[in-house]
Symmetry: C4
Subunit: 229 residues, 4 copies
Amino acid sequence: MLEYLKAAVCDANIELQRRRLVIYSWGNVSGIDRKSGLVAIKPSGISYDELTPEKIVLVDLQGNVMEGGLSPSSDTQTHLELYRNFSEIGGVCHTHSTNATAWAQACKPMPCLGTTHADYFYGAIPVTETMSSESVGDDYELNTGKSIVTAFRAADYRLIPAVLVANHGPFTWGDTPARAVEIAAVLEQVSELALKSAIINPKLEPVSPCLLDRHFLRKHGECAYYGQK
Amino acid sequence: MLEYLKAAVCDANIELQRRRLVIYSWGNVSGIDRKSGLVAIKPSGISYDELTPEKIVLVDLQGNVMEGGLSPSSDTQTHLELYRNFSEIGGVCHTHSTNATAWAQACKPMPCLGTTHADYFYGAIPVTETMSSESVGDDYELNTGKSIVTAFRAADYRLIPAVLVANHGPFTWGDTPARAVEIAAVLEQVSELALKSAIINPKLEPVSPCLLDRHFLRKHGECAYYGQK
Amino acid sequence: MLEYLKAAVCDANIELQRRRLVIYSWGNVSGIDRKSGLVAIKPSGISYDELTPEKIVLVDLQGNVMEGGLSPSSDTQTHLELYRNFSEIGGVCHTHSTNATAWAQACKPMPCLGTTHADYFYGAIPVTETMSSESVGDDYELNTGKSIVTAFRAADYRLIPAVLVANHGPFTWGDTPARAVEIAAVLEQVSELALKSAIINPKLEPVSPCLLDRHFLRKHGECAYYGQK
Amino acid sequence: MLEYLKAAVCDANIELQRRRLVIYSWGNVSGIDRKSGLVAIKPSGISYDELTPEKIVLVDLQGNVMEGGLSPSSDTQTHLELYRNFSEIGGVCHTHSTNATAWAQACKPMPCLGTTHADYFYGAIPVTETMSSESVGDDYELNTGKSIVTAFRAADYRLIPAVLVANHGPFTWGDTPARAVEIAAVLEQVSELALKSAIINPKLEPVSPCLLDRHFLRKHGECAYYGQK
């Protein structure tokens, strides 16, 4: 079933390693087929070097395995909560990439300090609330997803396709699994920029709303004029 | 037209990736043929891996496309403003390289803290003024170029071939597209040095004028004695 | 003797270089055969490029060379002290990897600031006491091992398979030589995360005990559910 | 003349690039034949990719070119001053490697913060005095050498084979050109460790004299026991 999706998800997972966003098996990408409601996701603990489309697991939106002989990623319930709540996304990516994870561990939202950030994210990257011991103890991965959804009550997931899960690391998303990985790579780069800019000038303020508008809208929406038509 | 220039501009753009100054399509290099007044520039949003001389776009100094089936870089108007005002340059380069962009985001001029810097830049690297909402809203890329020109009212673009655009990133230039890229690579390295030196010694002062003279003039001007004659 | 062990120890030493945890010959991995009480260890000062299983030295638990024509690592007595005291380990690894060594030089225990850390280490990484001049002057490498054992009086070496030797660098261990190297690679990554998180938020507290439990126990012990069964 | 020396100097210069200690042509290595008093050194401004033993320049201890059609490194007079004053050295290396140069630009001696440092350098790495405008204006490269010699009035160049030239970068030396490059690579690594340790613990003190003794003497002098006999 869904050979195209399993191939795309397999490729996107391998891209994590090519972009140096992961070591060992620290990261996972999924993709959804909205018609059938099936999600293709990396199997748990498998290294990227041995990943093939046949090893990608298909689950339904409740997490039941529909195809595949391996257990799905231990973070599957987080991915599913995002698919259930963010109805327009087609791919989700989770990494422990160095600089983005440093911000997540610091439990700080990452301000928009420049146009590199503004080209992809329409404002600060939200950080989730620290989870209560109840949330951690029970249905932890599902509750991680819920904490992300809560963080986007005050933000639009279509305009800011990334979050920092407190004490943990980044999740990103996009219309395809490949796009979710691209956003993860950009977030890592932007996180390093923000860390270094804050060292050079600790009193730095976010960019002006008009510069944010200009750069984000140059690449997104009806009036976009970046790239080829 | 101008096959040599399109080849040189194509090579210089690919060199950005080889020198690890860009990811995805985040950077662009152009070159000018001063006789015809034509500028060769990277097409917008095209990856370096698929770039060929045939894809390089030729525009005149007002930005009209004279040859090529692709849209030119969205930063074209910034490049053109530099060619119109800095009459001796032959190539312009723009990147989001990590350390130089961190300084640009920090909105701080980068002081000359050592001879590595002094070998290429005759003083601090200027940072532009933050742009007003009018400037950002209207003819943004042109106004970016104007803010660079303004920053060089008090400096000589021939002696300091680089600028930090506030909240954005570096632009560099030289007599050829290849030289503009070399300056971008040097600026990135010098930016990392300055960041790290400032961490080790936060009260650091710029180098003495005589040391600046010695190193810059060792490599530039009539009395240069670095390299082979 | 013990061909399988010498091959595993040789591979694990070469992996140090592949993972960029060492330059020159700065690191060593050993493995033990608990039945015979023999330890296989890297010869001293030999580069990883010329290492072969035949060059691996076999010593007994007192440090007597039992097989091999080369001198064993100068750190052999430290490894042996760990094997004598930590009865369940099968491999030991020592590196000077950049970020873990920076923490060791700083003489600070490394707090658990996130789930990347909690996935592998059940709490802060201990740092040893600074050694007295007597300890350094006499049986230095043995006393280094003793200082590690002392640091684990208040911690369980099975749950925290790493230590920072003050002013020196990290030692890690596991059930096999390969696992000891994996732990060294993870420690290096976690050390960079901790350094960068502390820059972003200097007042950062360790993660909650419940999050530590959840992540460590997700991967270890009877109720582990990460990976494939 | 001196084919063996020119080959060794050529190799050592190329090693600078392999170890990522230089970009472009930013670094130079020389070697001396003490019998004839001739010094082999990199030609100025030549890239490492095109370097061959035939291009290495031979000069006498006063700097007269004795063989070779290219101009010697612009830093030649600094190298010669070191050979004239440090009678036991056989090779000299100069780089602008990132972390060592950051310390040199910061005009701070680099304290011995750990055993990685102590394994190669018997104490802090000295920094030269900032040069006066007279020294910079006249015989600059010779005076750079003199400032290094002055910095070693209170230290032994045989025990600390490296210096940080203020506002400039590191020079290192050893019994051969290859050893001078190895010391440069170690200094770069130790410089990164010191920078990061100081971030983690700004109040850090140097290691104890006894630990310094133990590690330095483990590798050097009559009682050395590191490596193979």
